[in-house]
């Protein structure tokens, strides 16, 4: 019989209560397992992919076209390399990285020309790209930069997905050397192909800012530390970020007071665009548009020494005026 000092419960109640306990234990345990991270490190640095495609023989490493219409210049230069179909495959996500760093108008030549960007977007879409993303991590207020550079509207009208800086997601990336520890926009790391579209501008530290310097615009806070050894940093960036294509915009070049500019007196109309698979050669060509001898630029020399490309202007196929 039941002991009055130890009142018993029915079997049914015992089962119910024990199953309640079991459910609670399973919920807590399961929840802990779901959220448990054995490494105790939430962020894993992502690798920067290599976006290059193999180059067939007989195709120039870079081609430059001249003329008053920036869009036609882009088309001619890219066509000389075999057309955009060679660089973009059907269904791929392409990221176009112009310079949209400053709250300046196209005439002030502080940002990439909007027509160059729009033409690249159209070429990529025509080649079958699923999505073409146009983005940059601006130095000034991004909304003003994307609006006043004209790139937001032009790229959007051409069919690109324009992502303003504040909508980018920054993630830790496995960057070497001086840039170790910096974050990179996730949209860049996830793209299938990347086209780097710098504009030719004067810069007081590396003399001219071009494609390798343009990679600053995919990195987040702390990137300004890289100026401490800019030539080494640029070569490292060139070794880390390997674009499918580099398109150098020399429609207008900023000859002084760069990279922000402001005065139209510092802007020179060159009317040229170069496209190439050799980033070092592209930067060398860009420097030449500003009247600089590529061999005099330490970052070009350092990149060449590392085997990232050649700085021999004779390798650029000049198509001349259209």
């Amino acid at each position: 019989m039941t002991d009055p000092y130890r009142p018993a419960i029915t079997r049914r109640e015992a089962v119910l209560r024990l199953s309640g306990t079991a459910v609670a234990a399973a919920a807590i345990g399961g929840g802990a397992l779901v959220f448990h991270d054995r490494r105790s490190v939430s962020a894993v640095a992502a690798n920067v992919p290599d976006w290059r495609l193999p180059i067939p023989n007989g195709v120039p490493r870079a081609a430059a076209a001249r003329g008053s219409d920036p869009g036609i210049n882009v088309r001619r230069a890219v066509a000389e390399l075999g057309g955009m179909e060679r660089f973009v495959r059907r269904g791929e996500v392409v990221l176009v990285k112009p310079n949209i760093a400053w709250d300046r108008l196209p005439e002030q030549a502080a940002n990439t020309d909007p027509q160059v960007v729009a033409e690249l977007v159209r070429l990529c879409l025509a080649a079958g790209a699923r999505t073409v993303i146009v983005t940059d991590i601006s130095c000034n207020d991004p909304l003003r930069c994307f609006a006043r550079s004209g790139i937001g509207a032009a790229a959007g009208a051409a069919g690109a997905e324009v992502i303003e800086t504040h909508r980018l997601r920054m993630v830790p990336a496995a960057l070497p050397g001086l840039s170790a520890g910096l974050e990179v926009a996730e949209q860049v790391l996830r793209a299938d192909r990347v086209i780097n579209v710098p504009v030719v501008k004067h810069h007081n530290l590396c003399k001219v800012t071009l494609g390798m310097k343009n990679w600053f615009g995919v990195m987040g806070k702390g990137r300004n530390r890289l100026h401490q050894d800019i030539n080494l940093a640029l070569a490292e960036l060139g070794a880390t970020f390997r674009p499918t294509l580099t398109v150098v915009d020399a429609t207008r070049v900023l000859a002084a007071n760069g990279p922000v500019g402001g005065s139209l007196g510092d802007v020179r109309a060159v009317g040229a665009v170069a496209a190439g698979t050799d980033p070092v050669l592209c930067d060398a060509w860009g420097a030449a548009q500003l009247g600089l001898e590529p061999g005099s630029l330490p970052f070009v020399a350092e990149a060449e020494r590392r085997g990232l490309g050649r700085a021999d202007l004779a390798l650029v196929k000049e198509l001349g005026p259209s």
Binding site: D103, C139, N140, D141, L143, R144, A147, R148, H166, H203, N204, L205, G222, N224, R225, H227, Q228, D229, I230, N257, P259, V260, G261, G262, S263
Partner: protein
Amino acid sequence: MSWTTRIRILYQAFFLVLFLWLLVRLAGGDPRAFPYSAYLHGDPLSAVGVTLAAGTLPGALIWALVLIGLTLLFGRVFCGWICPLGTLQQLSSWLLSPRSRRESLQVNRYRRWYALKSYILAALLVAALAGTLQSGLLDPLSLTARGLAAGVWPVLPGGRPVPGGWLAALLLLAIVVASRWIPRVFCRGFCPLGALLGVFSRFAVFRIHRTSDACNNCKLCAFACQGADEPLGNHRVSECHVCLNCLPGCPEQAMTYRALPPLPAPPPKPDLSRRYLFGTVLGAFAVAPLLRATGGGRAAATPRLIRPPGALGETEFLDRCVKCSLCQQACPTGALQPAIAQAGVEGFWTPVLVPRRGWCEFACTRCGEVCPTQAITRLTAARKTGYDGKPPVSIGTAFIDRGRCLPWAMSTPCIVCEEMCPTDPKAIWFEIADEPLRDGAARRVQRPRVDAAKCVGCGICENKCPVGEEAAIRVASVGETRDPLNRLLAGGNPS
């Protein structure tokens, strides 16, 4: 629910949503010229306060006449139908507090302490006349905008942190939560704008009228009375929010809202004690000189008191700023922050530019565009940048800290401040120097120097300086266009 209540709720919802929508657009950096400051332009408390303090009624504040006219016609319809803070309180007292009819009758009775708002109004206006404008602290429109901009927006996606914003959030939250115990507690007891409108509503053409012959004193009219204005007794018209809840409440149809009803005898008077009012006025007269003499702020220019571009001189600025936070909400880089201590007690919550949070975008003029009282004057981009040929508008000057600067102190190359500088030519230039290294060798670096005549104090150099926490180049207010005495260089004043 009766049709009057339905219509009122529609109006309240519309005006609350519009208020929130304008703030959201403003924060989104939308460059289109929406009437962001429309609510604050129509604020009679700001209009009267600024007029008393500054001796002039700035521009768009003339719209306050519309609200005064509306009140003279219909009574305090602003409080019952338009005010976002009133709607928020009404919402919370409705949501949080299921009451029995007995409790409702109890909480909606008039209390003597509701006269406090009239003393607050008197104190604020007298203080404004004596030279310190503090009406914005308790003005419901400024208070709500401030609470949402500094206390709610920072935690939403896309929001930026606002140090000190919790103060504004706490005040707004306290008001909304306290409405659970006393409905519309702020309107009834504290709101200086409501008290001011109450002065005008005493002359209102349309008012609530009780036909005493039909009334059987059932008290049903007082159950949902928002203003606690006792429609049953000697109706306190200056307390009435014109919520019209008493009309459908009356089973005998004794309550009407109509033009020019006969006035009850004796006509209602505000519940003010002459003795207390005298004390309030006297106290408020003492506050202004006390704040100026001991509160810090306007006596001398302060290095880190960097005001937005186009801001008036400190005295005129403080006479106009109603602390509404619109400029802070509008700033695209988040540079404008509420002053907690930088501007003295008087300048609490006035906007101050904090370069490490953001910089003054060179061609941006949004803060002046949204300022409801023109404490920050409107500038064109051409005027601000100096592209019109005259010197640009300066808010300060950058100074290099040679003990922290990489080229100056560490023999390490760096040019970020110069790279970012937006002026033409750049205010930062380089001196080439061979700086010593530890092993006895030298390294060639470019040492930055500031051309004070070119610097506009925008602060992008300080913001982007790679030296962590405290930058190696910092902006101080000296050289600001708005203060001819706070100068660095001899010669003609820029602009």
